[in-house]
């Protein structure tokens, strides 16, 4: 039954488009050094603000740096933050949500209170506040964003685990004497797959957005190449023509990443929600 979710994502138009966009972006990020002869901070001999040419596909910026190169390395930053936050926050969600559902009782109530209180915090504000003082690098950014994004996932995972817990094969395992860790690892986590991935994709999307936003505000580590920072610099020069190959491509790269993630997320969510599944248009009832 759970196999069809993945197939449905890969089959839906939104899912296909999303996977394609993200796949392309990941390839560009991984092979960045092969796709450009320059370094991201290398001051080339070409004059500043040159137009796009064979040597510089997107021209050069005010410091004679190659914009295409910066774009590629910016993708690395964005995607590493996205990947890191998705993994870390997904891990914490499963750890807390899953154990809370399995153990129940006071432990469960304690964690759900923590989740409720953390969700009430306006996270963007806390992140801006902390970043304004600490100017986070990629690693610290991942920690910071994960610390604020796990509660939503934990709540979803807990609810899902509670229903999975009552399934026949889990009760069967329990009667054979399986402990909580065995139940969680062997029987529940595999079935959490699609929902877990859906929350991770949501976290990744927020992470890309926040990383770009913080760099756009100028409060991330200045030594890290980032799309947000490129846009912050490029925005100053809108009176010149350079925005056409500096500001716009950067914003489009960022938007493509975000759109790709939200398309995959949307496809997953509609595959997970039986009421919205495309197949059963018109008829409900029956099987």
């Amino acid at each position: 039954m759970h196999v069809s979710v993945w197939r449905e994502v890969a089959r839906s138009n939104a899912g296909k488009a999303g996977l394609l966009l993200i796949g392309a972006m990941v390839l560009l990020a991984i092979f960045a050094p092969l796709l450009t002869p320059y370094g991201p901070r290398e001051n080339t001999t070409t004059p500043a603000f040159s137009r796009p040419s064979g040597d510089h596909w997107l021209g050069t910026n005010d410091a004679r740096q190659d914009i295409w190169t910066q774009l590629l390395y910016g993708a690395r930053t964005s995607l590493s933050v996205a990947f890191g936050v998705a993994l870390l926050s997904g891990f914490i969600s499963v750890l807390i949500g899953g154990t809370a559902a399995i153990f129940g009782g006071l432990y469960d109530r304690f964690w759900m209170r923590v989740v409720d209180a953390t969700i009430a915090i306006p996270d963007v504000i806390v992140i801006i506040l902390v970043a304004a003082y600490l100017r986070p690098n990629v690693f610290f950014m991942i920690l910071l964003l994960s610390a604020l994004s796990w509660p939503g996932g934990a709540r979803v995972i807990r609810a899902q685990t509670l229903t999975l817990k009552e399934r026949m094969h889990v009760s069967a395992a329990r009667t054979f004497g399986a402990g909580p860790s065995h139940l969680l690892l062997r029987h529940i986590i595999p079935d959490l797959g699609p929902i877990l991935v859906a929350t991770m994709i949501q976290d990744a999307r927020r992470a890309v957005f926040m990383e770009a936003g913080l760099s756009f505000l100028g409060i991330s580590d200045p030594s890290v190449m980032s799309w947000g920072k490129m846009m912050q610099y490029a925005r100053v020069f809108t009176y010149l023509e350079v925005w056409k190959w500096w500001l716009l491509p950067t914003g489009i790269a960022l938007s493509i990443t975000l759109i790709g993630l939200s398309f995959i997320g949307f496809a997953l969510e509609s595959a997970l929600d039986p009421r919205l599944r495309e197949r059963e248009v018109g008829h409900d009832g029956g099987i």
């Binding site: 003082y133 936003g213 716009l248 938007s255």
Partner: protein, 351 residues
């Protein structure tokens, strides 16, 4: 027989008197538990505001006020500020001094504007409220309308186009949407002003002033609405799709209701409640979106103020703004929570 039936029904609802007391007590605890979430969140921001500058290496005074401020500061002023922040005393007393100052409305002193932080923020706040408020209302109404039309025609051409294009627009970060609008309509076509919220020193009053304000507002507003309309739209569309399968829609069709009436009176009405709730819950995102959009359009709201204070490292102002935004966000969410349980009887019973 009938009596018995009735009484069991009633006992499920509220029960006998003792049960009612218990239920009321439970409701009170639930209410206070959920109020305490907001209290905890607020306290956490206070603690962060207090500890972050004091955790920084070096002189906490320097971290609180920033290096630039120290250059322009006389020893007397410094001594006075040290006393006010209780920096020569223990951490507990410092925190107490901080809380007491806040309770008195003292958010600190902005050295850059040379004014109390609170009065600086209050100068900029109205424009943010105007932008956020109108964006909230407009994106909700538009989302409802489009969602109803789209859900009603599920799977048809209009639905597919709307769904794809709104999902696409939603992918844009608000500030990039703002940049695109600014470039196209401002830089290339020159249709909209490039900065500000009204024409300075124009001496306009009445209607011309309103038009001038609208002229400055329209692009930032459009940027926010285009990006943010999607959540209300998707929610309405989903509710429409599930509601249209219900039996009462069939009944309405059977008795010969017109399509328009079924769309808006019967099905559309059901999506009102979730959408209004979602709108309330999206206030924080809308405010933060507005902060970024204001920067792009140099719209003189709190966002632009925050950006400038980050550039000038005016730390008291940064802290004041973020605290203020937190208060607004928490208050709005609390209000929505309270309103929601009033609006939807199922919530106050079931929770």
């Amino acid at each position: 027989m009938e009596d018995l039936h009735k009484s069991t029904l009633e006992s499920q609802e509220v029960g006998w008197d003792g049960g009612r007391v218990v239920a009321a007590a439970k409701a009170f605890f639930r209410r206070s538990a959920f109020l305490s979430n907001y209290l905890i969140a607020f306290l956490l921001i206070l603690v962060l505001n207090f500890t972050l500058p004091r955790l920084m290496p070096g002189d906490p005074f320097q971290a609180i006020y920033g290096e630039e401020a120290l250059l322009a500061m006389t020893p007397q002023l410094k001594a006075q500020l040290v006393e006010r922040l209780a920096l020569d005393q223990s951490m507990g007393q410092q925190f107490l001094a901080y809380i007491l100052a806040l309770a008195g409305g003292d958010l600190g002193h902005s050295y850059y504007y040379n004014q109390p932080v609170l009065s600086v923020i209050l100068d900029f706040l109205p424009w943010t409220l105007l932008l956020t408020g109108s964006a909230l209302v407009l994106s909700t109404l538009l989302g409802l309308f489009l969602g109803i039309e789209s859900g009603f025609r599920r799977g048809r051409h209009l639905d597919k186009t709307l769904l794809a294009s709104l999902m696409f627009l939603n992918g844009f970060p608000d500030f990039f949407m703002g940049i695109v609008l600014l470039l196209i309509f401002g830089v290339v076509w020159g249709l909209i002003p490039l900065s500000g919220a009204l024409t300075p020193y124009s001496g306009l009053v009445g209607l011309p002033l309103a038009i001038d304000i609208l002229h400055h507002l329209i692009a930032p507003l459009a940027a926010l609405v285009l990006v943010r309309v999607t959540s209300a739209y998707l929610l309405t569309r989903n509710t429409m799709i599930t509601t249209l399968k219900e039996n009462f829609i069939l009944a309405a069709r059977a008795k010969g209701c017109s399509e328009g009436k079924i769309k808006y009176r019967h099905a559309g009405r059901n999506s009102l409640l979730p959408v209004v709730t979602a709108t309330g819950l999206s206030i924080p995102q809308m405010i933060t979106g507005a902060l970024f959009v204001e920067i792009v359009f140099s719209y003189p709201g709190v966002g632009l103020l925050l950006y400038n204070s980050l550039l000038t490292r005016d730390y008291p102002l940064i802290q004041g703004i973020l605290l203020m935004v937190t208060v607004v966000v928490l208050a709005a969410n609390l209000l929505v929570d309270l309103l929601y349980s009033r609006l939807d009887p199922r919530v106050s019973h079931a929770r």
